[in-house]
Amino acid sequence: MSRLKLVAGLLLALILVAGVLARAGLTRRWVEDLGLQKTQREELRVWDWWSASTNEEYGDYFNALEAAFEARNPDVDVIFQVVPFGNYVQKLSTAMVGDTPPDVFQSSVYWAEGFHQRGMLRSLNGLLDADPALPGTPAYVGESAFLPSAWRHNHAEDGTIFGIPQIIDASCLLWNLDILQAAAADDDEIRAMFQRDAAGAIDWTCIFWNAVHDWEHFRRLTRKLTVRDENDDVTQAGFLLSASSGAGLFAPWLAANGGRFQDAAGTQALFASARGIETVEFIARLYWVDRVCPPFRRQMTDGEMFKERRAAVVAAGTWSGKDITRDTMGWTHFGKTAFPRGPSGDGPSTVTWGNMLVITRRCDNVDAAWRYVKFVGGLEGSLLRGQYLGYNGPRFDFYATDRWQQALQERPYLSNVKQICLAGDKLRHTEIIAVDHQANPIVESVLLHYPEIVEGRGPYPSVAAAMRTAADNVDNVYRRYNEQVDNWLALRAAGAD
């Protein structure tokens, strides 16, 4: 019996090892080349960080997407793989080296530029030029089909297109309309934020996308909406600030003040300008002078406090909505605005970005991959994301559909997202993680120690000095990154020779 067990165990171990080898990276191709693993359909491996484990609606979306795409393309078998956002770059580099890269993946704007400059992405210019779909049709995925703010991060300065947008996001201010409506009972200024219907009556479900005129207006509003208890502790925040958000919090306000975080080529940090310093000081004064925020807490997120109805307004995104409704058991009475014009700005603004689908250079099934990208980037894909995920689409024609109009009826908080997305500047896009690692702690220090800095006894002699230090460090990041880009280009040129 023991010999039988030994033989059975050895056999099982051999089968397991053989199975692993047969499916693993390099050996998988050998097995396929041997013809031992023949599939009826072309496999298309698609990576994404959207996961049913974080939100079951993603599972529904991918199921519907797969069913719809494969119904039209019966020769393609789409295989989705979830890769956590935080591990994306590492997993992709490992996959590229291990010869198991995906065919298509959703790329954040955080990485897209870097992937393109490394030569990992296939240029889509030829595929677009050869695409039979005509501009203005639902299947067309060229530039004219998309909102301009969605078509900023997906191409290089030389015109190389490496991605097709599948979503459009923008930072925005999220307002609790329950609080606003209650405050509007005896405040004309707050009442004026709400839209009016055709009859002239106030529509309490919608506010204007540019309801806040400027920063002084914002300060007044948030002060009015702040409630304190007998101990002078903030029980209802006029505005929520998270000191650890760093550049993520700072960037949309900077855009509204007419400033830029970086130059277009990703060679220079621009946020330490007079507009940038003005922006940081405005944010710091909201906390320390206007006192519209509760004490800084790293562990409590803005979103959590907003869902608990303890904040009148938070900085959030145009994607915020369906998760709030789900987590609050159906609450939809909130609205979105752009960031108000700063003293040096031209009008309400924000930062926008469009995460995209890309095809890897090592994709063997380029035709299948392109058909998938076109489907997801086309109108039908946008409508699927709208239906299952509550996302507004990056395409112009999306906003003319009955489904979008129906969504507006069901969820009035979506009413301003298009205008907000159109008003935004391009989100910073070069080595964002490395830049945040350098800049965020300094911005955090400024926010946490603003009074001491002003009095000359803080960790930095002044706000300007702190921002200059952050900008110098970020410039070093850009310098090293661009040296790497030159190396990559030289390598590719040498390889081509």
């Binding site: 590229m96 080595e431 702690p441 090293r480 790497q484 190396n487």
Partner: protein, 283 residues
């Protein structure tokens, strides 16, 4: 007459240890060698390409204005001191108490050992919520690092307690009996018998705690991401960020890793020389 050993019999032990040794060498020494090579290059994992830069990465880590190596080492050193002190002040008393327990000694050993076998990510997430509800220790740059050290001490207390227990049980009872006869009180027994006899165990626990503490990463990554205001940016986290979050800085990250190795090596070498194992008593 001595029995002659054939060459095959001499070879057999090496064949037995060969596979394990090969794997160990592959995943440790070979990896370390590659890392050392990378540290002298400007290496990009994506491109798989490198450019020899000599000691530039090391120079940058030690002297560059935007290098956080010294800051990270300072924080790491503070963490190590807190961890070592905390470990010795908790594990040894726990072991002494456990030894004295007449009932349930095995139960206490198991309970105190449980954190050691719990994944670090789980511990970090649990303590993240504990600290957020009690004291907000992670919100302040003064308390964040001690809070992480508290987690580290709590997580490692049981493991070190078991090691101390093993050391304590090795102390001959006859020494205590003789001390009692000579009129020594508990403190005198502890000071003149227990501590000297535990010397080797103490050195071992201290050295292992130092090595482990120098490499603290999980709690920082999960709970603070190096904040607030870089107050918890430790060297392992800095290595991780530079290796995987920044393009083409694998060489710099490798240089940081080898600088960390050098520091740990010096620490351990000095300790082992100063406190080297010696026979405590004659047989």
């Amino acid at each position: 007459m001595a029995r002659r050993v054939s060459w095959s019999q001499r070879l057999l032990p090496y064949l037995y240890v060969g596979p394990a040794l090969t794997v160990a060498c592959l995943f440790s020494f070979v990896s370390m060698g590659i890392s050392l090579w990378v540290s002298f290059h400007d290496y990009d994992a994506f491109a798989g390409a490198s450019r020899f830069v000599g000691f530039d990465n090391y120079h940058r880590a030690l002297y560059s204005a935007d290098s956080y190596f010294w800051l990270a080492m300072r924080h790491t050193a503070v963490y190590v001191v807190l961890s070592v002190c905390g470990t010795l002040l908790t594990s040894l008393p726990l072991a002494l108490l456990c030894l004295r327990a007449k009932v349930g000694q095995a139960l206490f050993r198991t309970l105190y050992f449980l954190p050691s076998i719990t994944p670090g990510v789980v511990l970090a997430l649990v303590f993240y919520h504990i600290f957020s509800n009690y004291g907000q220790l992670l919100d302040c740059s003064w308390t964040a690092l001690p809070a992480l050290a508290l987690l580290g001490v709590w997580a490692g207390a049981g493991y070190n307690m078991v090691i101390f227990l093993a050391g304590l049980t090795e102390i001959p009872q006859i020494l205590y009996d003789a001390a009692v006869v000579d009129g020594a009180n508990r403190w005198q027994q502890f000071r003149h018998i227990t501590m000297p006899m535990l010397r080797n165990t103490l050195v071992f626990v201290t050295v292992m705690t130092i090595i482990g503490s120098f490499q603290v990463f999980t709690s920082v990554y999960i709970m603070t991401s190096g904040g607030p205001e870089r107050s918890t940016e430790v060297i392992a986290y800095s290595i991780f960020v530079n290796a995987f979050a920044v393009a083409g800085q694998m060489g710099y990250a490798s240089a940081l890793a080898w600088l960390l190795f050098a520091v740990i090596f010096v620490f351990v070498f000095v300790q082992m020389r100063v406190f080297r194992s010696r026979r405590i008593y004659d047989e």
